[in-house]
């Protein structure tokens, strides 16, 4: 009998084989879906965070989120006090006078307020066993000052020319003395923030040491041991980090033994994982997603007032934008409520002034919210003498919501005869052009510190590198000098008020709204704290 090759059969069999493989895939998919839900007990506390971390070194890096993340690995001399706003949920109090002891058990201030002597806890160690002592504190502060840029600037609250801190001494293992050029109690606030972090000198010296005005490359993706509540046990930049509890931490141990932080910028991912309760905390969701999740059983939304205004910065010296009436006219032609309700989905509020509500120095009576008043806006336009102008609005469209707001402003300002040309720039160009002051107007999500004086100094000092709007109002410089030399907050207030007044008269910035901080947390999360630097150690189930 001739032997035959069963060709047709073979084709069918292979097709069936392929189908079986696919089906098996689907089956296995179903199988593990059910199992993943039940393992919450052993699952690390998971934080999904819509951020790109470029550096872990608070001594150098500028962005608030990066400082926020990095601050979890380092202890500091002092800490901010907190208020419980609802059960398990706390918010910090930015008042420097309420600063609490942390690694320092106590401190003495000299009579003229220029010298701070801190007494430290003794016998403490970094997580790798190296001694955590006064020498490390001195090394850390010196390093931050030497590297310059954002670190030194923030540590000294903007007073860098000449520097506020003249020297740091460590006479013995438990004493640190900070000498300042002038009295400035707000220093305690910055020491409590990421800039006051304590690094392990040995680690840093072993990996490139300290170079003036340059970041340390190794420290961008590593930590210099850990003096803080958590140790960075795994870090994949742009992807995730695993934090484990530091057994040598001098303070209250972290709530969770292990925290996994996923850096996810894709909104759908964040949303799906929040819905599936795969993330315990989700940070940085766009407001409409937060709104959507707030109605679902998966999620609880925590909001907090944060110093994060959304503004249109006008170039004070730019053509057209140098016209104060024109700038003021624009402020009356913004549909504030629409923006807050339809773009911020209610997660925002209104005010108008240089100091964000809740900051040290803020006075509600001075900074009432602007109203939407087209009549007034048109009248101001007429007074300004500007005729059918075109305004170039620079935006970074990769930031969520920005292009929507820009589009709304375009339609809104059209009504008072202003043509808006939306100029979209990639993030890098946006930052460069903005910092160099090469723009006419720019839409941005600001992140300021809660120290009013510092913010005023940053924004109003003529020709300062931080003054990227080139604001220079006659008569403000003497006031700023006076503010710099006034240590007592109570004595500062009248000066602050006059500066605010000057700012308001000139309307250099259009403040669209203040974005609220939002975190979407799973119902399992029992403890959550909001602070400008997120303290993950205080978060837990």
């Amino acid at each position: 009998m001739p032997r035959r090759i069963e060709a047709r059969g073979r084709v069918q069999r292979s097709a069936i084989g392929a189908a079986v493989v696919l089906f098996a895939g689907a089956l296995s998919a179903c199988g593990s879906t059910s199992s993943s839900g039940s393992t919450t007990a052993s699952k690390p506390f998971t934080v999904n965070w819509a951020v790109n971390i470029t550096s872990l070194d608070p001594a150098f890096t500028c962005p608030g989120d990066e400082n926020s993340f990095a601050s979890n690995f380092y202890g500091r001399l002092v800490k901010l006090s907190t208020n419980e706003t609802s059960p398990g949920i706390t918010q910090i109090d930015p008042d420097p006078s309420k600063v609490q002891p942390d690694f320092a058990t106590k401190w003495d201030v000299s009579d003229e307020g220029k010298t701070y002597t801190f007494t430290l806890q003794s016998g403490k160690k970094f997580d790798n066993g190296d001694p955590l002592d006064a020498a490390a504190v001195k090394y850390s502060l010196d390093r931050t000052l030497k590297i310059g840029a954002c670190g030194a600037l923030s540590l000294q609250l903007g007073i860098t020319q000449p520097p506020l801190i003249t020297s740091v001494e460590a006479p013995n293992a438990t004493t640190v003395v900070i000498h300042m050029r002038q009295a400035y109690p707000a220093l305690l606030y910055s020491l409590a923030q990421s800039r006051g972090s304590i690094y392990n000198p040995k680690e840093i010296e072993a990996h490139g040491g300290v170079q003036a005005n340059s970041p340390n490359q190794w420290l961008q993706s590593h930590t210099a041991s850990s003096s803080g509540p958590y140790v960075l046990s795994e870090y994949v930049p742009g992807n995730h980090a695993v934090l484990t509890r530091n057994p040598n931490y001098y303070g209250t141990p972290a709530l969770e033994p292990t925290v996994r932080v996923n850096f996810v910028t894709a909104v759908p991912t964040l949303q799906v994982q929040a819905q599936n309760r795969e993330a315990d905390v989700t940070l940085g969701l766009p407001p409409q997603v937060v709104k959507n999740l707030s109605t679902q059983a998966c999620c609880k939304v925590i909001t907090a007032d944060s110093p994060t205004p959304v503004t249109v910065s006008m170039n004070y010296q730019g053509e057209l934008t140098n016209n104060a009436k024109f700038r003021e006219a624009l402020t009356y032609a913004v549909p504030y409520t629409d923006i807050i309700n339809k773009v911020a989905y209610g997660y925002g509020d209104s005010y108008y002034g240089p100091i964000v509500p809740g900051m040290a120095g803020y006075k509600a009576s001075l900074e009432p919210a602007r109203t939407y008043d087209l009549g007034k806006a048109k009248q101001l336009m007429a007074e300004s003498g500007v005729n059918s102008p075109t305004l170039n609005l620079m935006i970074n469209p990769t930031a969520p919501g920005v292009s929507d707001i820009a589009t709304l402003l375009q339609s809104a300002w059209q009504q008072i005869g202003v043509t808006v040309n939306i100029d979209a720039k990639p993030p890098a160009d946006f930052t460069t052009l903005f910092n160099q002051g090469k723009y006419q107007s720019a839409l941005l999500f600001e992140n300021s510190t809660p120290i009013g004086g510092y913010e005023l100094r940053k924004k109003l000092t003529c020709d300062a590198p931080t003054n990227n709007q080139h604001i220079c109002i006659p008569g403000t410089m003497p006031l700023l000098d006076q503010l710099n030399n006034t240590a007592d907050p109570a004595a500062q207030q009248p000066i602050v008020d006059s500066l605010v007044q000057k700012w308001l008269e000139n309307s250099p910035t259009i403040i669209l709204y203040r974005a609220k901080f939002t975190a979407v947390v799973s119902p399992d999360v029992k403890h959550f704290a909001y602070a400008p630097n997120f303290r993950l150690a205080d978060w837990g189930r």
Binding site: P2, R3, R4
Partner: protein, 353 residues
């Protein structure tokens, strides 16, 4: 399309050969191609028989339908081609009624084919051995090892030296002549009753042609198979085949014993063909291109004789233009001949006019 009055009488019938000797009996075979410009009949109502051990030559220009006829017989006419009518009887069975599976037992088993172009007749990425073994094992239930031994023997038989090691060689490692020998070996692997050789030597040089033909001759004789040699070269037919059928525009227009044909062809076309052979013998260039004119457009229906436009005798003749000639019997000096011509039997007369 005009109905041809296909004669059911063949030369074999005319010669009254015993019925039991008939191997293949083709009746009224018609093969059509569906083309963009309409249906084209490549084989038009062809009938003939092959006896056991007979050697039959089918001669014709390229495009005359010879290959299509061969492929139709084994049911391998490729779409859009299709056999639309006729019977193909091998022994008692009509091959047209067989399933493809049954038919493929015939192909390479009882009927084998040897193709024109040995270059493209092999799968280029399989060894000669594997292709031979495959052919053997399709028809015989033998082990791989046995099949390989058989293949080596066959290769030796067709004159491939060091046969067993050359089984592992790929087709491109063989010369053209050798490939043709391998093809012949494969065709004979399963002891076929009929070998259809379609232009087996066209692609080869003259010396190799002779060797290959000689080989074919020997092997076919040894195995007692019948041979159907398809060629456009009448020159190689002489002395090799018993009888010759001349094909033109899909029809058989002359059927003769080869002695008879060479002595006196009964159809004007055959005569033209013969002239070409003679001229070639006189070392002139070109084989068949010297017959003036081309084949008729197959998409147009025939009226009258298909050869009329080129016929030195009938061109312009109203009879030839209007009436299709019947297959007429001619009693020549060397036996009975059949010719599809109005002037069959009177060619000499007409030529003299």
């Amino acid at each position: 399309m005009t109905e041809s009055n296909a004669s059911t009488m063949t030369i074999d019938a005319a010669n009254a050969a015993p019925e039991r000797d008939t191997l293949l009996d083709v009746r009224g075979l018609r093969t059509e191609f569906q083309t963009a410009r309409g249906r084209v009949a490549a084989v038009r109502d062809v009938s003939f028989t092959i006896r056991r051990r007979q050697r039959l030559a089918i001669v014709g220009e390229s495009g005359s339908g010879k290959s299509a006829m061969a492929m139709s017989i084994v049911g391998l006419i490729q779409p859009p081609g299709r056999v639309t009518a006729g019977e193909i009887r091998l022994g008692g069975t009509n091959l047209r009624e067989l399933s493809d599976r049954k038919l493929s037992e015939v192909r390479g088993g009882r009927i084998s084919l040897v193709f024109q172009d040995p270059m493209s007749a092999f799968d280029p990425i399989r060894t000669i051995g594997s292709q031979m073994i495959e052919s053997i094992r399709v028809h015989q239930s033998v082990s791989k090892r046995m099949a390989r031994r058989q293949a080596a023997d066959l290769l030796g038989e067709v004159g491939v030296t060091d046969a067993s090691s050359r089984l592992s060689d790929y087709p491109h490692q063989y010369s053209g002549g050798m490939r043709q020998r391998v093809l012949i070996a494969m065709a004979l692997a399963n002891s076929p009753e009929l070998v259809i050789a379609d232009e087996p030597t066209t692609a080869l040089d003259v010396t190799t042609q002779a060797q290959v033909l000689e080989l074919l001759d020997r092997l076919v004789t040894d195995r007692g198979a019948a041979l159907m040699l398809i060629t456009h070269n009448l020159g190689i037919v002489a002395g090799f085949c018993d009888s010759v059928k001349v094909m033109y525009a899909g029809q058989l227009i002359e059927e003769s014993e080869s002695r008879a044909l060479f002595a006196s062809a009964a159809h004007p076309y055959s005569r033209e063909l013969l002239k070409c052979v003679l001229r070639t013998d006189r070392r002139q260039e070109g084989l068949l291109s010297t017959i003036p004119g081309t084949l008729p457009d197959p998409t147009q229906p025939f009226k009258g004789c298909s050869f009329e436009p080129r016929c030195p005798l009938g061109k312009g003749n109203p009879l030839c233009q209007g009436v299709e000639p019947p297959l007429a019997t001619v009693q020549g000096p060397h036996g009975v001949q059949l010719a599809k011509c109005h002037f069959a039997g009177q060619l000499e007369l007409k030529e003299d006019q």
